[in-house]
């Protein structure tokens, strides 16, 4: 890989949608929060203005336990986006949280050959810039 390409910064969330902004504002306080419908009780992610199940427009942000299970992943060896070249190999993962929602993250503190479906994981936060904190996951600490 050519060094001259590795100058672009990593893509960070640039939320224009006010709900996306609120999600990331909670992350900035190291809190993983999701919307919970006050009409039918369903948790949801990604953020949306209305519950697509019961059409209620009432909801609240509720903090997640941050614990869940690994649902699927891809181990990236050739990232295409130059900013991720130094990180390879990395596992981009989908986690199913205890509350039922699934989200995209990246695995920390686990060799790539130990990734397995249903592995118990927990959130950890890492600051990526002055304004952005990203939620990553690692195996549940015994």
């Amino acid at each position: 890989m050519s060094e001259e390409l590795a100058v672009e910064p990593k893509p960070l969330p640039k939320p224009g949608d006010p709900l996306h902004q609120q999600y990331w504002a909670f992350c900035n306080e190291e809190r993983l929060c999701f919307q919970k419908c006050t009409g039918c009780g369903l948790w949801r992610h990604v953020p949306r203005d209305m519950c697509a199940k019961c059409w209620s427009t009432d909801w609240e942000w509720v903090e997640s336990s941050g614990k869940g299970k690994l649902y699927t992943w891809t181990v990236v060896e050739r990232p295409m986006h130059p900013a991720f070249f130094p990180d390879v190999p990395y596992a981009s993962i989908i986690v199913e949280l205890e509350e039922g929602v699934r989200m995209v993250s990246m695995m920390r503190d686990l060799p790539m050959d130990e990734l397995k479906v249903d592995l118990p994981v927990e959130v950890l936060f890492e600051r990526a810039s002055d304004t952005v904190v990203l939620p990553y996951f690692r195996p549940v600490q015994k």
Binding site: K14, D17, T74, E77, M106, V117
Partner: protein, 388 residues
């Protein structure tokens, strides 16, 4: 009213498929459209309907550059790689209803030159956003997921977890498409067959995709002319009828993780509707052109079409089944994997050639019925049944 056999493909056009076209997408689209219009025995004054691709150009720009002065109808389908085959449904509706007489369907892009930075290759022009851009930007990209090879990797990993390792099936698919491409003069991999050893030793790009699980990146454009079945009878070429066509969307279509069943994709709902319209079974097809961005995605579509039970593809593909001359030829031109990546418009061009009897060395004997699939964005699907 059923759309069955109400519209036909009567003209095809394609540019060369290259790495480094050195010109804009729309310039290549204009070339492909001009060729398709000429192939149909028409002039631009006969064209009154236009279907440009999403993102890469606009109706107004394309019509202006082609000199189409009396445009009556235009429509854009935005389903990523499922766009091409899904556009047949819209074009057929337009000509069957009489809203337009002759519709040009066109798609081209600089999939090699403009997709990602390369030293010495100038970037392409800036185009508009795509359907799930906000979700990709705010929830996927920060974790290193910016492209299909990564987010389809999630689907493929999950599929292999549920239905078992697919290495055998994937190797056979990659080698069959590469073998078919050796028969195609426009295939960018012509002269470079693929051995099992090369496949197995190829580097991982994003698991479970190795290099040879991935399609090629090329620049190029394709176009079709679609008209009504009545008018098609008097055109220069044997008409290729749109016998069945449908699109399908996973739910929700704009986000993969939140799907209840991540392995249920658009093709699962599109295929039965397309087959019912055409009144065929999947086994009636003389050939199939499957949207082959990645081999695992071919596996998932073969299952969704009903060619075999989930997990059964490795058995199905044995003994050269997918090669020209095999029991179920798939991607007789080499597909996105080995011919070129034009969002599957090249699949429709090849299907039309097969049904005209013009497929050269790759001709499937007495081909009467072909199935074409499209797959795109986060798992949108489209299926067409074409017959001569």
């Amino acid at each position: 009213m059923s759309l069955k056999d109400k519209a036909a493909i009567v003209g095809i056009g394609e540019t060369d498929y290259v790495r480094g076209a050195g010109r804009t997408e729309v310039d290549q689209m204009v070339e492909a459209a001009r060729k398709a219009i000429a192939d149909a025995g028409l002039t631009r004054d006969d064209i009154d309907g236009l279907m440009p691709p999403p993102v890469l150009t606009y109706t107004e720009e394309l019509a202006a550059k082609l000199g189409i002065q009396e445009l009556k109808w235009a429509s854009v389908v935005a389903m990523g790689g499922a766009t091409s085959t899904a556009m047949l449904q819209n074009a057929a509706m337009a000509v069957a209803s009489g809203i337009a007489k002759n519709v040009v369907v066109v798609l081209g892009w600089n999939g090699y030159s403009a997709l990602r930075p390369k030293p010495g290759v100038p970037p392409g022009r800036i185009n508009g956003p795509f359907a799930f851009e906000n979700i990709l930007q705010d929830f996927y990209a920060p974790f290193g997921v910016t492209l299909p090879v990564q987010f389809y990797g999630w689907l493929a990993t999950r599929h292999e977890y549920v239905y078992g390792d697919q290495t055998e099936a994937k190797a056979a698919i990659a080698m069959a498409f590469r073998s078919n491409a050796q028969l195609n003069p426009k295939a960018i991999t012509r002269g470079r067959p693929l051995s099992l050893e090369e496949y197995m030793s190829s580097r991982v790009i994003s698991s479970p995709f190795r290099l040879y699980d991935c399609c090629v990146e090329t620049d190029g454009a394709c176009a079709l002319v679609i008209t009504s079945a009545e008018r098609a009878k008097d055109m220069p070429h044997r008409p290729v009828y749109i016998s069945g066509v449908a699109e399908g969307h996973p739910y929700p279509a704009d986000d993969i993780p939140s799907r209840e069943d991540m392995l249920k994709v658009g093709i699962h709902s599109a295929a039965p509707r397309a087959f019912e319209m055409a009144d065929i079974k999947v086994t009636d097809a003389d050939f199939i052109q499957i949207y082959d961005c990645f081999t695992n995605i071919v596996v998932m579509q073969m299952e969704a079409l009903g060619l075999c039970e989930p997990g059964g593809v490795a058995d199905f593909v044995k003994d050269g089944a997918l090669e020209v001359g095999g029991k179920c030829p798939i991607n007789t031109h080499g597909g996105l994997h080995s011919q070129a990546h034009v969002w599957g418009m090249n699949h429709l061009i090849e299907a039309t050639k097969q049904l005209r009897g013009d497929a050269g060395e790759a001709q499937v004997k007495n081909a009467e019925v072909g199935i074409i699939t499209g797959w795109g964005d986060l798992g949108d699907g489209s299926v067409a049944v074409l017959r001569r």
